[in-house]
Symmetry: none
Subunit: 401 residues, 2 copies
């Protein structure tokens, strides 16, 4: 029996409101022995006040030692076992640029490349062509037509673009055409799966036309296809939790991930203040709000300890706008750690706080990694955060009599 | 998806070095209410210094409440789920005496017994015959020949010895011949498994010849066969982690367990000083070093609290020879607890410390059970220690994009 078998059975109706504030890459590390983490360094009077009222813990995004990407990191927070539900690379890339995948679509990550007269790859990334050059080329590929299939071509960045095929009977079990080497031609799309043969044919037709269209280009005179992936089948928030859920995010990736689990994407926020405005405006329309804050991750990725500290303080300053709405449950966490010390996503546990009128406070009065280690939620897998949220919101009945 | 599915996919090349120092049966208990454990009693300035730099936690060998033997205890530490990978009794016995099992071998634990004129067992352990008497008898059984099968007979202790059959088509699904009672004859070897019929025939042939050879013995005039077991199929450290791994151990059992997961057995250490010499000599040849220290377990088994304290202090004194080599990751743990108070393996969590330049220190400054309860690694299953080690060594990529 998995988490959703239980929540489907036990979910209760309620007027309660849950807010999950995700500070991307929140967890950190000290820059030197004996030092403090970014979160511990930041002045966070509002988060500390929540810590004092609430309960702390350390979230394990996937399993001990495993650093997640944004996809599995958020699936875990949303209560979807990230080792069971996998978002294919093509689907994640499409999601990340805001493309709304439908059931049956196949999404593919494509790289422009350079081939020589014999067809062998001389540069797998077309000389790292700039976005200014590659964008119009991707648009040019939109002239490709394939009978019975709707074709979408979406620019991404530099040498990358996304292709989506929409039509009946398109499986996604097709192997990459990128040979991962130069001096050899791209591979033909192939598949062992009878259900994906039509996709193979469609991909071949696309590649043949693309080769003609790109023939006169100096650098990007062909492309490879990687990570063929259907839209992942994720049950919706409404179905598994009985929640009308809204996502209030700035970046397309996080809106896309939220859309995959059936959240409504609310507004067009550009700033944290916009996000807070939207939260307030839509307060009566939803039961659950996912608020995403990107900059704790991006400053961490840049190795900018002080920048991350500032961003945490900025987030802290916005907290009163949430608490003013008096949510039944407020959770503050991250999808993973991004310590400035490591300049990237890491495996470390993520500081997490949960406040409700029926949580069991643990005596901690500051929101930091050290306090979270001692917190009442202990160490827990991120995928259990949603059941804790529902329980604290009075939205889960008893299991068994 | 299990741990090794992930590590196979995510493993990265690196020059980093990991040392796992296993103090067998490290965890303990106070001898009286309000007292300290063996580890807390011991003066351990070097381990305490590591604790201050590193992160502590409490390892659960199998699951809460389950005390492991050496086999599952070490499999867990090596990252092999001890409830999934089972080492059959015969194979563990052979491993324990340093016999190098090959794929296809079937190993069997045998007990000398006494039978009466009618063939009924009168003593299932041949009057607990001494090792001095039983050893030569086991050697005598080496004259047994079976066409098409290589036969090995290895003395163990007292009434015990090991038989290994090597040949084609030998399954291990054969039932014990020990009837677990006296007054009845040993059972014939039988099997429900078609793939093990040849093993049944080979075992019968062995028993028939052994009965003749032992006929004139007063006590050990026959034997039973138990725990038929093939060499367990464990993927190797190289394959699942990309690690060249060395085991530096004194006792055959631990060398054998390490060999089963593909570690090289380095040297012929007799003392902890020998082990440290070998570590230093082979430092450039391997990525991972398993160092095994037996005496924390054997003193615990003896109920010798003070002896265990001394052994821990002896181990502590050797730690600077490890840290001098500047390992990227150093782990100190045990395969289980062996509290002197209980004189045996126990289910208690095992104090564990991990040091690397990117662990998240938890403010603890001593290595003891009480500190480990508060440590940043929390309580974790032993099987996750290897993913933590790899992550801290920069040897694991990100899961998902």
């Amino acid at each position: 029996m998995d988490i959703h078998d239980l929540t489907r059975e036990l979910k209760l109706k309620s007027d309660s409101k849950i807010v999950m504030l995700v500070a991307d890459g929140l967890g950190g590390l000290p820059m030197q022995a004996g030092g403090k983490t970014e979160l511990e360094t930041a002045r966070t009077p509002n988060l500390d006040a929540l810590a004092a009222r609430g309960v702390l813990g350390s979230s394990i995004p996937i399993m001990p030692g495993i650093a997640p990407g944004s996809g599995p990191g958020h699936l875990g927070l949303f209560g979807y076992d990230p080792l069971k539900y996998v978002i294919g690379r093509g689907a994640l890339e499409a999601t990340g640029i805001g493309f709304e995948l439908r059931d049956g679509d196949v999404a593919i990550r494509c790289n422009f490349c350079t081939i020589d007269a014999a067809g062998a790859i001389t540069d797998r990334r077309a000389g790292r062509i700039s976005t200014d050059e590659s964008g119009p080329l991707a648009i040019k590929l939109r002239q490709i037509t394939i009978p019975g299939v709707e074709v979408f071509v979406e620019p991404v960045k530099e040498h990358r673009f996304v292709v989506v095929f929409r039509g009946a009977g398109l499986g996604d079990r097709v192997k990459d055409t990128d040979p991962q080497a130069t001096g050899v031609p791209p591979l033909d799309p192939v598949s062992d799966d009878p259900g994906s043969q039509r996709t193979v044919e469609v991909a071949k037709a696309f590649l043949a036309q693309a080769k003609q269209i790109l023939a006169d280009q100096a650098k990007a005179n062909f492309h490879t296809m990687r990570g063929f992936a259907a839209k992942p089948k994720l049950p919706s928030y409404q179905e598994v939790y009985g929640l009308r859920a809204a996502a209030i995010a700035v970046y397309p990736m996080y809106k896309g991930l939220a859309r995959l689990v059936g959240m409504d994407i609310v507004g067009q926020a550009q700033t944290l203040a916009d996000q807070m405005d939207l939260l307030q405006q839509h307060w009566n329309d939803y039961d659950f709000f996912f608020l995403h804050f990107k900059y704790t991750d991006s400053t961490g990725e840049d190795g900018n300890f002080d920048g991350k500290v500032k961003r945490i303080e900025e987030l802290d300053a916005a907290v009163p706008r949430i608490t003013a709405l008096n949510p039944t449950v407020l959770i503050v966490t991250g999808d993973h750690s991004t310590p400035a010390y490591l300049k990237g996503h890491s495996w470390h546990t993520v500081p997490t706080l949960l406040v409700s009128d029926c949580c069991r406070p643990d005596g901690e009065t500051q929101f930091g990694e050290s306090q979270c280690v001692r917190g009442g939620l202990g160490q827990f897998e991120a995928k259990y955060l949603m059941t804790l949220a529902l329980a604290n919101a009075g939205r889960l009945g008893k299991y068994g009599a």
